[in-house]
Every structure is written in C-alpha cells, then in structure tokens.
C-alpha cells in the first residue's frame, strides 16, 4: 500500500482475493502492506490481474530494490502535522518504480517519510528517513537520516543533512542510492544493508560522499519543478470536510454523555481516537488486536465491513499502520459512537491502541521458514493474560514487540518490551529486552538477561510490568521509568531466587 493508503474499493478487492484464492483472511504487515500467505503459485497470475483491476500490484515487494515508501498513518489529518508527507511519498513512489539503476542494489532499501511533530513512521529505523518541516525562512525541506534499521544489527539512523529543500529531494536520494550501490558490501548478505556501510564508514564521511555526488547532479534533470510538486499536491487536497466549528460544543456534550453511559466506548475514545487538524473531526485507530486474536489478521468479512465503514464515515479511505492496525483519518466526531458500535459487531472495537496488548508480532514459525520460534501463540497468550481493559489503562502506554528470530520482523529492538524467540537445543527460548522506542526519542532495547522458556515468558513480562508499577512516578510512562531507573531493578526482580 503506497505510504499506507488504501481505498475502500481496493480493500474489497483484497477481501475478494482472500476469499477466493486464500483462506479467507489477510495479514497486515509492519511494512504497511497486506500479506496473503496461502495462495497457490498457479493462482498468482489471476490474483495479480485482480489486483491490477483496482490499480494495485506486488512489484518491488521483494528483491534488492527500493521497497514501498512508508509514512505516517495520520498523514493529512493529524493535529500535530507540519506538512503532508504523502505528496513526497508519491513523488518517491514514481521515481523509485522500476528504477533502471537501482533495481539490483546490494540489499533491499526502505524509505520512510514523516511530516509531524510526533514520529509515527519510525523514520529513524529506515535505510533513509525523511522528516519534512518548514525552516525559519518558511521554506519546506527535509532533515535526512540514513543507515537506520533493525534485523541482526540494529542502528538508529544518522542525520547527514539538517535541511534539504524539497525541490532537491530526488537528486539527493539518487546521490545516496548511487553511493550505496557503488560502495555497499556485496560479499556478505548479512552486511549488505546501507546501515553497515554507514556504520563502517561513519556517518560524517558517508554524508560527505553523498554531498560530493549530489554536487554533480543537483542542478540536473531530477531537480523537481514547483509546478510538478503543486500538481501532485492537488491529489492530496483534504476531503470535502463539513464546516463543524459551530457545532463543537454540542458534539462535545453529546459525546461526554455517551462516554458516561458506556465505559467501553469511553475507553475506546481515550485510547483509539486522536486529535484531527479540522474542527469536529477525529482520527480513529482501529485495533486489529482483539483479546486472544492473531495480531494484524483481518478476515475477509472484517475487510468488507471496514470498507463499508470507510465509505460511510471516512470518505472511502483507510490506512494500514506499521503496528498492524487500521486507521480512518476523517471521521466526524458525532459519528464516533455509531462507528464504535459497528466496529464492535466485527470484533474491531478493542480499546487498546498503544497499550500492552497492541503488540507487533511477526508471523513466526507458524508461517515463516526463517523463524526459530513461534511468536503468534505467545502474542495471544500475552493478550489473554492482560485482557482486562482497566488493568491495561492502569499500566498506560507500553509497546510489546516480538520476533521469532534475529531478523527482527516483529521489531523487538524497538519495543518498550521486546521479545526475541530463539531455538536452544530444540526447545523454544525467549529473550527479553527492555527500553526500545521507535519514535523521535528512538532507542534500541537491551537484552535483560538469560532467556525464558515458553511457559515462563508471559510471567516474565508480567514481572516487568509489576516492577514498573512499583517504581513509577505519577503519570510516568513505562519507557520514562525505565530510562530513569535503568535495567537493574527489573533484572533483580526477574531473576530473584524464589
């Protein structure tokens, strides 16, 4: 899904494909895409034809090329947005599609763009991260980060340029990609990502090489004409919102009454609904993490329901998030209760966004040939253990991310609590890591100590949570407490002899 946007029409087609050629469900990935894991190879041409009928394809979803550009799922709507990143994502999408020079890179290549104060696109953990903002002179440009990534060797991206005018975006990207294509390691698949080149060369020298290459091409054919940027920008004009500023007070009091009557609606409003830049509207995060469910799995029936709800409440558009949820960006606040009731009919009204059970989870050994351990059943166990919504709210914002092997598709390095599955002499063993974060205060989680067996790992997570609750100051999030007190108190409680 280019920069995570999908139309209701496209989602209906995905539902149809999942029903007809798969097992009736699809899986939302951390790449803001949807995976269909059970298609027969011989059906692939028919599936591609069905995708093409709604302007979709699977090109560059694998291979050592520039992959789908990802972005902020709240783009265009968020109250804290400075500039809309989708405009530039689309320009990058066009430039990177079937690029003749960069289709056989040393390794895959991922670009993320964010344009808000809060980073919801994890730009510090991508091969290139672009942070769109306006400088003091009122010009639009990017802070440019390179060499971030997860996998076997996690790195936070390094800033190589504080301000790049938007008109220079493509020439600068081409300079980075060319330096990487020429100098990136090709002798070892596990050291071929740009993060290794940047790490070995150092961010400063890498940046200098990019600047030197860019000097040669910055005035060339890739310089973006302003009328082309304007032309693309027109496609991202806001949907036809109604003027609701005058109704705000009435909507607010009606919502307050509903929240009073319906504790679960109240919880959902608190956890899943975010501020919109437009008066009277809200952004709704739909949790695909119901209690005991497989994180990120949507049935065809749920996809069809979501498509209808998008048409009815949010101008027919949806977003897939990198934490495996779905977002409706433009919901009238007076429709929130009706939307919540409809979502509840499809097991999509869980009010746990950004809470402990809103976990990221890779497919693990149940699907993946690389995995050493299962991750889905573990996510389900944790979800059941912490099913109580009041308890989750008491714990507050806390991300749990789990991967079934060191390739880190479940982003365990950037979970407040990260879980890494390993195989030890034929038995599954789970490593626990603490302190990761994917946002503007990016950090990589550290392994706390010896791993836990399958029957003890959920207890270990609970132990960490209890330690946090005992240590926290008023209003302090888990990550803040961890940063304040360090790993020691957690370690002491986890490995205390009983």
């Amino acid at each position: 899904m280019p920069y995570c946007c999908v139309s209701a029409t496209q989602l209906r087609k995905l539902a149809e494909i999942a029903t007809r050629w798969d097992k009736g469900f699809g899986h939302l990935t951390t790449r803001q895409n949807m995976q269909l894991n059970w298609v027969a190879l011989e059906d692939a041409p028919d599936i591609l034809e069905a995708l093409a009928s709604v302007e979709m394809h699977a090109i560059q979803s694998s291979g050592n090329c520039i992959r789908n550009t990802t972005s902020d799922p709240f783009a265009g709507a968020a109250a804290d947005e400075l500039e809309d990143p989708r405009v530039y994502c689309e320009i990058i999408r066009q430039w990177s599609s079937l690029h003749p020079e960069f289709s056989f890179l040393p390794r895959k290549f991922k670009i993320a763009v964010s344009g808000a104060t809060h980073d919801r696109a994890a730009i510090r953990f991508h091969d290139i991260g672009l942070r769109l903002y306006c400088n003091d002179a009122g010009e639009k440009g990017f802070e440019v980060l390179v060499g971030g990534g997860l996998g076997r060797t996690p790195f936070v991206g390094k800033v190589i340029r504080d301000f790049l005018p938007v008109n220079d975006m493509l020439s600068y990207l081409e300079a980075i990609l060319r330096v990487y294509n020429q100098l990136g390691r090709r002798d070892n698949k596990f050291k071929a990502r740009i993060k290794i080149l940047v790490h070995e060369m150092g961010g400063t020298e890498f940046g200098e090489r990019v600047e030197k290459e860019w000097e040669q091409i910055k005035h060339g054919a890739l310089h973006l004409p302003q009328d082309e940027i304007d032309r693309i920008e027109a496609y991202f004009a806001p949907p036809p919102h109604r003027d609701l500023a005058a109704n705000e007070a009435a909507i607010e009091s009606s919502l307050a009454a509903s929240r009073e009557n319906e504790p679960e609606f109240d919880r959902w409003m608190t956890n899943n609904v975010s501020a919109h830049k437009r008066a009277g509207y809200a952004i709704v995060s739909i949790s695909v993490k119901a209690v005991g469910a497989i994180p990120g799995d949507l049935s065809s029936e749920q996809m069809l329901a979501l498509a209808d709800l998008a048409d009815r409440f949010s101008f027919g558009e949806l977003r897939f998030t990198h934490d495996q949820n779905v977002v409706l960006t433009d919901v009238e606040q007076s429709d929130l209760e009706a939307l919540w009731r409809e979502l509840a009919r499809h097991a999509l009204a869980t009010g746990n966004v950004d809470k402990l059970t809103d976990s990221i989870c890779c497919p693990g050994q149940d699907y993946c040939a690389l995995a050493n351990a299962r991750s889905i059943p573990l996510a389900q166990e944790i979800s059941k253990r912490f099913a109580d919504g009041d308890r989750l709210d008491e714990i507050g914002p806390l991300s749990v991310k789990m991967s079934g092997c060191i390739n880190a598709c479940g982003h365990h390095h950037i979970g407040n609590i990260g879980i890494l599955g390993a195989d030890k002499k034929g038995a599954e063993l789970y490593q626990l890591a603490l302190g990761g974060a994917s946002d503007e205060e990016a950090s990589i989680a550290k392994i706390i100590g010896p791993g836990f067996t399958e029957d003890r790992i959920v207890d270990a997570v609970e132990n960490v949570v209890e330690t946090y609750l005992g240590l926290r100051n008023d209003g302090e999030r888990f990550i803040d407490t961890y940063r304040r007190v360090g790993a020691a108190p957690f370690k002491e409680k986890l490995y205390a002899r009983t």
């Binding site: 050592n64 066009q94 430039w95 599609s97 079937l98 690029h99 003749p100 020079e101 960069f102 289709s103 056989f104 890179l105 060319r178 294509n181 020429q182 090709r186 040669q216 060339g220 054919a221 890739l222 004409p225 009328d227 082309e228 032309r231």
Partner: protein
Amino acid sequence: MPVLKGGKRIEDSWTSLPSGDEIPAEGPLIVNLAQWREERDALCARRDPLGILLASHESPEEIADELDHFSLVCLDFPVFNDGRSHSSARLLRERYGYDGELRAVGDVLLEQLHFLHRNGFDAFDLDSEHPEEDWRIAEADMQLWYQPTGDERTTVIELRHL
C-alpha cells in the same frame, strides 16, 4: 557469444588480451584496467581500435580522463544481481561524456536489457539463440518512464508539463 547492438546481431570483431600475452600488432583489442595501466604507451602506439573492460568494482572515474583512447568500454556483470555496472554506465555517459560503444558483458539477462539500455548501454553480450527477438521483447517492456537517465526517452514529468 552473439553481440546485440542497435537491435541487431553483429559480428564481434574484438578480441580480449589474455593476461601475460604479447600485445598483438593489429586488430581491435580489449584490455582490462590493469593491462591498460601497465602497457599504456604500447597500447597508445597501436593504430587499431582499443577497448577496455571494467570489473564491477572498478569505478569509471579511474578512466574518466582517458576515455578518448577507447572506442569500446565493456562493463562486467559477474552475476546478474551485482548492479554496480548500472551506475558505472550512467556515470560514463552522463558525467564523463563517453559516446563510444558501451557494452554489457557477463551475466546479462533478457529481463535487464531495458534497464541496461536506459542506463546508456548500446551493446550487449547476450547468451541467447535469438538476440534480435529478445531485443524486441525487451524494448516493449515499458512504454512510459519515470526516471530521467542519459537516454533520449521522454520522461513522464516532461510529458506532463509539455
């Protein structure tokens, strides 16, 4: 191996200089970068056309100031997914102004012909029984192009703002 150039199969009149061999007095000759460095004077004294082969890790910058000596530059693809020579080709054409024959050699695949041509290659060492048919297929791969490269194709952005 047949050579494809301008959509036609052509006779390859070039020979490569085996390492350690005497430089032949006559005939179009391809040398590698090391041979060029070592035998520059002797090679320049010849009257017949000279070509050079760059390995994928050898930067075209190495010969940027000496391109007048060559009427053929071969860029190697040791395996199809070693994409470095794609960048080398663009630099030779667009930055260093090389306008002689630019030939892709090694693991050159039909699937990459279109990309190669866009990057500036005009000749291909193609392991194929039907190189001319391959060329027709490859040429038809795409009809619209997003990226400006050194070739003469009009890009989508140019078409939009005609």
